[in-house]
Amino acid sequence: MLFYILIPLFVALALLVVVSIGTAFTAVAFSFMPFHKVPLRYNLRNLQVRWKTTLVTALAFTLVTALLVIMLAFVRGMDRVTQSSAIPGNVIVLADGATDETFSNIANPSVQLFPDDVQKSIQKITRTQGGKKVREFLLSREVYVLVSHIVKQHDDGGRKRRFIQMRGISDPEISSQVHEVSLASGSWWSASGVRSVPDPAGSSDAKIEVLEVVLGDGIARILASDLGKKELAPGDIVQIGPNTCVVAGVMNPKGSYGSEVWGRDTQIQQIFNRGNRFSSFVLRTADDETGAEVAAKLKKLASEKYNASTETEYYKRLEGSSSVFRVAIWFLGAVMAVGGVLGVTNTMFAAISQRAKDIGVLRLLGYTRFQILCSFLMESILIALIGGILGCAVGYLFNGMTATSIASGGQGGGKSVVLQLVVDLAVMGPALLLALVMGAVGGFIPSINAMRLRPLESLR
């Protein structure tokens, strides 16, 4: 029942929007043509004379535009994180049926058991071991654990917790090449993955063994702020879940890995009771096409069933949450826009009723109805433009701000990501366009009213 009432309403609104935008385009184009038209100076002067009303109306546009810019910047930041995590040619392999590393559990993969054509497709690096040059597969074995981390102990006994992503890898050199991750400071961990350091709680002579970790840039900032520091540096001691850890290094920004803590796989398997099992392995092929072929073959292996896909596909699935946010943002934007449209309609109706004599004079001077329509529509669009530009400027202040969110495909699991808001043309453009559409739609009906005023009646 509600559906049948709302459909004609939506159709009428859609028609109004389309006609308004079409007329607005014409009006704008008209203003640049060398035809006889109502001078733009007239509209600008009126906006100046009624500056209070112009300002208040433009402020409404500013708020809507600024909010839209900030929300879209957030989603853009999320997309950047997931897209920059995916390396073309990488294939991520999980347990059969698992869509997320959290729920994946596989044995140590034996590349020699893979078909020959798969082995040939996996890229290799050359390393020197014991004076000999050895070719090794670019295959990163990884155990992924979500750690429940206590942030601070509250006085009432309640504890604030967050989830920290820990990744145990067997060979940092190979993994860093596979994921194209580099260190901003410090170094990778030692062969054992643990280090002897002075006991922070004990006497100066006492030493304890702590886990060596490399932090992503995002999680390093968050853990630093927990400790009241600006940043964490190699050598800093930090508690992560049950582990006392020493920071061996901090990564350069790299997609979702910026939210992770990396350590030696054997240590992490032991601490979190994972036996000798892994969550995933990632191998490097020449390109996504080769990667897709390798993934298809790995899915059909007789020795162990895998769920394999290229990283590009895998991270694209994680953009599911971005899509949900994007739809929600545009829905909220549309609703706010309605409020803005009604506000500017009010302003323009008032402006037209106050300037009825002006319109009469313009008609007597020879300006046509259509020229009057275009003139008032331009005025409405100008208010929207002023408000929209201000809104983009306000939104731009949030560029580079850090925030956290979850990237998820929506079927359970997901990655907690630290992102930075990205305010660029791809974000400001649509927001400014919405402001202009609001101005066009809001000014259309008042402009029609202005167009229909009879000169003699308006001058009476």
Binding site: L2, G97, G343
Partner: protein, 472 residues
């Protein structure tokens, strides 16, 4: 419904403020209309005079209030869920350091006040009553430190998560289903909003080993109805594929996408795996994901936490004990920036936007009616009365539009759409609470008042001589 309103009023500060503002506005409005009916009628007539402007202002306010009610419903629900309750204090026991929490089946025997059979059903006495668990860790007879904790048979619940797809090898939104494997006796009383589940349904679950309860949306997405059978190919319990019979539907609301199965059926399947393969399933000792206990209050919760987190029987793995609100709060921590952005940026900006729209409309109205106001002054109306006239018009539009917008939100979302369909973490949909009516009136009135302060002061200070000299 009145219980919900009362509870919200007792616990929620924003609702309390909204209630006070709504009462004040309604009280003042009704009193003014009763004491000065002519002025009230004049306000209504003034609004009617420029119907276009009044309608536009009304619609703009209503649309923005509608939007804020939508947003605040989600924020309010999440805040309410993550706020510690004074009564019905639930405690979650999970693996201490990692997600997902995976605990051995022996923990069910340690934490349950009722004895549990090896197959996962409650053990009963010959007279049908539930048998006490002699190994219950929080029984004062076993542990003197547990004196005064008082956890009964209805204060315990365990959850095992079993997930899979109805299509082998294919995992899509339409085929995926995640079950809570539970002991049927635990469903009513421990699961929020399932108190209305008929006892017959619980009995049916007990009598049908492969019985399951599905939510409305899950039934629709799997294309099933009550009485149908289906098979699930497991995602997290590899090679433990199970068949189910739908014995009932879960109430609409937060369980729309949920599914509940028998813990005994799940246990038996893992035992069957052992008998078939002569080895335990890799998840055999990791099957229990959450254990819930209900305690009296926060002090009892602290006591329970102290006992369980240091107990020698609870070492592999160690557990953490947190309140329901704290546990949910930890999961929502990743959404903290989004929720804070919405609460402290979006909502205030929309409220300011509303105030601006109203301020604009009232300013224009006052400017156009300067002559009328000068005439009213000549007729003997005091400046204060003229100010009240303008404020009253604005408050009338604001309060009525706010009320109608929130009413529309309640009807549209709760009646037609089954709640606000926006998935955050494990909350699939949000129901607009009846207290949204107070929010609507309060928002509409407050923004109308703020937006019309300056125009009403301008109206109050209209100078008769200035107006008539211009007219002359």
């Amino acid at each position: 419904m009145f219980d919900t309103i009362l509870r919200e009023l007792q616990t929620n500060f924003i609702t309390q403020v909204a209630f006070v503002i709504s009462l004040a506005v309604l009280g003042i409005g009704i009193t003014y209309a009763a004491l000065k009916p002519r002025m009230f009628l004049l306000m209504v007539k003034n609004l009617r005079r420029n119907l276009v402007r009044t309608t536009l202002t009304f619609l703009a306010t209503a649309v923005l209030v509608f939007m804020i009610v939508m947003i605040w419903t989600v924020i309010n629900f999440i805040e309410d869920t993550t706020r510690d309750k004074a009564a019905d204090f639930k405690v979650i026991i999970t693996e201490r350091w990692t997600i997902p929490s995976q605990m051995p089946p022996s923990y069910a025997n340690i934490f349950s006040p009722v004895a549990i059979n090896p197959d996962g059903t409650y053990r009963t006495n010959p007279d049908g009553s539930l048998q006490k668990n002699p190994s219950f860790i929080l029984d004062p007879e076993n542990n003197p430190d547990a004196k005064g904790i008082d956890i009964g048979s209805k204060d315990f619940m365990l959850w095992c998560f079993y997930g899979g797809s109805t299509e082998k090898g294919k995992f899509s939104r339409e085929s995926i289903v995640f079950f809570f494997a539970m002991i049927p006796d635990q469903i009513k009383g421990m699961m929020a909003e399932l108190d209305t589940l008929p006892d017959e349904l619980i009995d049916k679950m007990k009598k049908t080993p492969d019985g399951c309860l599905l939510g409305k949306e899950k039934l629709e997405s799997l294309n099933l109805k009550v009485g149908d059978s289906f098979r699930v190919y497991s995602l997290n319990y590899k090679d433990v594929d199970l068949s189910f019979t739908v014995v009932g539907k879960l109430p609409e609301g937060r369980y729309n996408t949920s599914a509940i199965m028998n813990y005994s059926y799940f246990n038996n399947a893992l035992d069957q795996y052992y008998q078939t393969n002569k080895r335990y399933h890799p998840m055999h000792d990791k099957r229990i994901n959450l254990i819930w206990l209900r305690v009296r209050d926060k002090d009892t919760f602290a006591k329970v936490g102290q006992i369980l987190e240091n107990h020698p029987q609870v070492k592999t793995p160690t557990v953490k004990v947190e309140s329901e609100s704290s546990g949910i709060g930890a999961f929502l921590d990743a959404y903290k920036d989004i929720l804070n952005g919405v609460k402290y940026l979006l909502v205030p900006a929309v409220l300011i936007s509303m105030a601006l729209v109203i301020a604009n409309a009232i300013s224009i109205s006052v400017r156009e009616r300067r002559t009328e106001m000068a005439v009213l002054k000549v007729l003997g109306y005091r400046p204060g009365q003229i100010m009240n006239l303008v404020l009253g018009e604005s408050l009338l539009v604001g309060a009525v539009s706010g009320f109608l917008a929130s009413l529309a939100a309640i009807v549209i979302f709760n009646v037609f759409l089954g709640g606000i369909q926006f998935q955050i973490a494990f909350f699939p949909a949000f129901t607009v609470p009846p207290t949204a009516l107070f929010w609507g009136i309060a928002m509409g009135s407050a923004t109308a008042f703020l937006g019309s302060i300056v125009p009403s002061l301008t109206a109050r200070s209209v100078k008769v001589s200035e107006v008539f000299s211009k007219v002359a």
